[in-house]
């Protein structure tokens, strides 16, 4: 009995050590374990790092030509989001500026604008926005809303004072100041919004791609790969655990880089507690290994992982609820999202990282991750036992 146990440990340890050798023999896997988590997030973060979209070009059609219309233009130009590049005489001319990709918005002030306001009516203007990018529209909307309010309250106080002198005792200055506060991502920056989630996605994909490729390598002709990639102990589970432990050992440093140093470098929100975040991500990493083992069922050759897994990055980004909130997803996709560790990993991590949630506040995500770890490891075990192993042994006989 004791001998059996010690033999088991020995096998376990042998597989663990040999897996290191295999990983470092395989440039493809090294790329997934090192280049992907270390270089990719930096490139990615740099793309969005300017965070805000400022000074988007617009043209103005001022058919009113009064001091008030010029004031409106000036105030809009003063906004961070907008830059007035010039005046156009009519709509076709303004459209031409849009068509030539010189401007992305048009402010149209109709004739009689100031007169209407003077009469105590509402002066209507129209803002046309190019809709190729929603973030530009968002900036325009912010700017026009602010200007509308500012100029509005200025005129309102003035008007009310003229009409009802007594009211001035009450309506002096701002009647009711309105404060808006962005939580989590306090600058409302684009990088700080998307990247923390993407970091977790990158980690998730690194593990699955690497495990998938390792699975493919085991089925290849050893002469083609240049070494014997088979590395299994008599017990299926023991070799799975040993290999996963090897991968986790390797990925430990990249994980710390991903969740601590990348946010530090790019000034992303970092409201979470580092140790709690690590504790939270542990089941995700374990579950991702399990998913990787299950995925090995379909990988017949190393390079297939690129064809059959890379596209999931796009799918998982959507499923994580980062772009489109989970509660608003169609039911089938919501169900699909629940089976991937990345969904819960991203959701929990951004709550912790940006909103400063504690581990107990993301309890449900944490529990889901452990459940998924169990489920994927069970499926992975079945795959290894009944699909991968028979194939490997079948092949070995063929080539010996």
């Amino acid at each position: 009995m004791l001998k059996k146990i010690s033999q088991g440990f020995r096998n376990f340890f042998l597989v663990y050590c040999r897996e290191f050798k295999l990983v470092f023999h395989d440039q493809g896997i090294i790329l997934f374990f090192f280049f992907l988590p270390l270089a990719y997030p930096v490139i990615y973060s740099l793309i969005y790092n300017p965070e805000l979209v400022k000074e988007v070009e617009i043209v103005v059609i001022d058919s009113d030509r009064t001091s008030l219309s010029r004031k409106l233009t000036r105030m809009l130009d003063a906004c961070d989001e907008v830059r007035v590049i010039g005046y156009a005489s009519d709509l076709p001319e303004a459209r031409r500026a849009l068509n030539e990709h010189k401007a992305y918005g048009i402010l149209q002030i109709p004739e009689g604008f100031a007169k209407k306001i003077g009469r105590g009516e509402t002066g209507n203007t129209v803002f046309y926005s190019d809709m190729a990018l929603l973030i530009r529209y968002r900036g325009f909307l912010m700017a026009t809303t602010n200007v509308m309010q500012e100029i509005g309250s200025e005129l309102m106080t003035q008007d009310i004072n003229n009409t009802v002198p007594l009211a001035s005792t009450v309506v002096s200055g701002d009647l009711l100041p309105i404060n808006d506060i962005s939580m989590g991502n306090i600058r409302s920056g684009f990088d700080s919004f998307i990247m923390p989630g993407v970091l977790i996605l990158i980690l998730h994909q690194c593990i699955i791609l690497a495990v998938g490729m390792a699975g493919g390598a085991k089925r290849e002709n050893p002469r083609l790969v240049g070494y014997d990639p088979v590395n299994i102990a008599p017990s299926v589970l023991s070799s799975m655990v040993a290999q996963a432990l090897c991968y986790i050992t390797i990925i430990a440093v990249p994980i710390i880089f991903l969740i601590h140093y990348v946010p530090l470098m790019f000034r992303f929100p970092m409201a979470g507690d580092f140790l709690q975040e690590i504790a939270f991500l542990t089941p995700m990493v374990i579950a991702a290994c399990g998913l990787g083992y299950a995925y090995q069922a379909t990988v017949q050759e190393r390079e297939e992982v690129f064809v059959s897994w890379v596209f999931t990055s796009v799918m998982l980004l959507f499923l994580s609820g980062l772009i489109w909130p989970r509660y608003a997803m169609p039911e089938p996709w919501k169900a699909l999202s629940a089976i991937f560790p990345s969904t819960w990993g991203v959701e929990g991590f951004i709550k912790m990282n940006a909103n400063g949630s504690s581990l107990s506040q993301v309890r449900s995500e944490y529990i889901n991750l452990w459940i998924l770890a169990g489920v994927w490891w069970t499926i992975g075990w079945a795959v290894r036992k009944w699909i991968v192993r028979p194939q490997i042994f079948g092949r070995k006989k063929k080539f010996v």
Binding site: I135, R138, S313
Partner: protein, 389 residues
């Protein structure tokens, strides 16, 4: 066995290779079609409605309840909770139960009527951009609305006719109109760029994968012999059947986006069809160029994956090139999808003359021509195939 030669024989061989392996079925048909359906159906409703939010009413007067009621009446907001303190609301937000909350301070009504200028504050969770932004807009509308109502009340109490004052409360109105997408449909905005970008990813991967397989298994020498040693002939015959498949898929994509999903199509179908057909060739050309630079199956697949996935951000579908760092933004222009996106915006969304898109079409041609510069190297490697894992 006699070696069959000629373009036709190679093309048939290429087709048989595709039919025989499931991975090709997935890559050519399964994945693109599934993702078309996935991306478009995800955002079917246009914009998320009924965003969970909370109300923190520390005042509890008729005025503060009015605010709560007008918030609840909005289609965009769903007041899930009525809480008593900021701390409760923050915790609820941290747990992800709500995306934002509206806070009315103590003695709100009394202070307001006495002119002590109470402050309304609303909090939105900008970690989630879309619901956060929509909540922001809704909250702001209600806050401004409340302010106007109060001003009217005060003027009324000072003896002015509230009816006559109404326009005075909003002297200037700037109405926003989104050209081509007036309802701010998120699907129109995102699907039209993400779906072709996914197609680009798959075209690049499959082009490199199928060519790399020839080198990996040493069949490329035979392929070259079938083409009488002409690399142009060999590559053309090998990839032509794939081009046909991709054209069918791209044609379906066009119909899927603009017909079945009814996304804005203000321009000419023919111009868009031309754009998609050239796009397929450009993506193949781009992949071929990469394969020429790195004729190693795994390395070129890695580069194609990297660029293919980075394209989703780098091609500036959501964050404009003009706002990126110059040194990064410039890479946007080495991606075929960038031009596909620009043509889509010009033609389908804005429906402007093809003249304005001439440069983007010319860029496609550059991508189609690019691999010719690398064919010599591909030929060298095809002659003596060496597999490096």
């Amino acid at each position: 066995m006699k070696l069959e030669k000629g373009i036709f024989a190679i093309a048939v061989r290429s087709l048989i290779q595709i039919v025989r392996r499931p991975i090709y079925w997935f890559g050519f048909f399964g994945i693109p079609l599934f993702m078309f359906l996935f991306i478009t159906s995800m955002m079917e409703s246009g914009l998320p409605h009924h965003i969970p939010a909370a109300m923190v009413d520390r005042d509890g007067t008729s005025l503060s309840r009015e605010v709560t009621q007008s918030l609840s009446a909005l289609q965009t907001v769903d007041i899930k909770q009525t809480l008593n303190s900021f701390t409760d609301a923050r915790e609820s937000l941290q747990k992800g139960e709500i995306y934002g909350f509206f806070l009315i301070p103590e003695n709100f009504q009394a202070d307001l009527l006495a002119g002590r200028e109470p402050v309304i504050t609303f909090y939105t969770n900008m970690t989630y951009f879309v619901p956060g932004s929509i909540l922001f807009k809704s909250f702001k509308t209600i806050a401004v609305y409340t302010k106007a109502g109060v001003a009217m009340k005060i003027a009324n109490s000072a003896g002015a006719d509230a009816e006559a004052l109404a326009p005075m409360l909003q002297p200037v109105n700037i109405q926003s109109r989104g050209i081509g997408n007036p309802t701010l449909n998120y699907g129109i905005y995102l699907s039209n760029s993400f779906v072709p970008c996914l197609l680009q990813l798959m075209i690049m991967l499959m082009t490199v994968f199928s060519l790399g397989q020839e080198i990996k298994y040493g069949t490329s020498a035979r392929l070259l012999k079938m083409a009488d040693g002409s690399i142009v002939k060999a590559i053309f015959a090998k990839l032509a059947p794939q081009t046909l498949i991709w054209w069918i898929i791209a044609g379906f994509m066009l119909a899927w986006l603009y017909k079945f999903n009814g996304y804005t199509m203000q321009g000419s179908w023919w111009v868009m069809a031309l754009s998609e057909m050239m796009f397929v060739l450009a993506a193949q050309g781009f992949a071929l160029f990469i394969f020429g630079v790195l004729p190693n199956l795994r390395l070129s697949l890695s580069v194609c994956s990297l660029l293919g996935i980075l394209s989703f951000s780098l091609a500036a579908f959501s964050f404009p090139v003009q706002s990126m760092y110059g040194a990064i933004g410039i890479f946007s222009y080495i991606l075929p999808i960038r031009y596909n996106f620009l043509i889509y915006a010009d033609q389908a969304l804005n429906g402007i003359g093809i003249y304005y898109s001439r440069v983007w079409f010319a860029a496609y041609v550059a991508f189609i021509m690019a691999p010719f510069a690398m064919l010599w190297k591909i030929k060298k490697y095809m002659k003596d195939p060496v597999y490096a894992p």
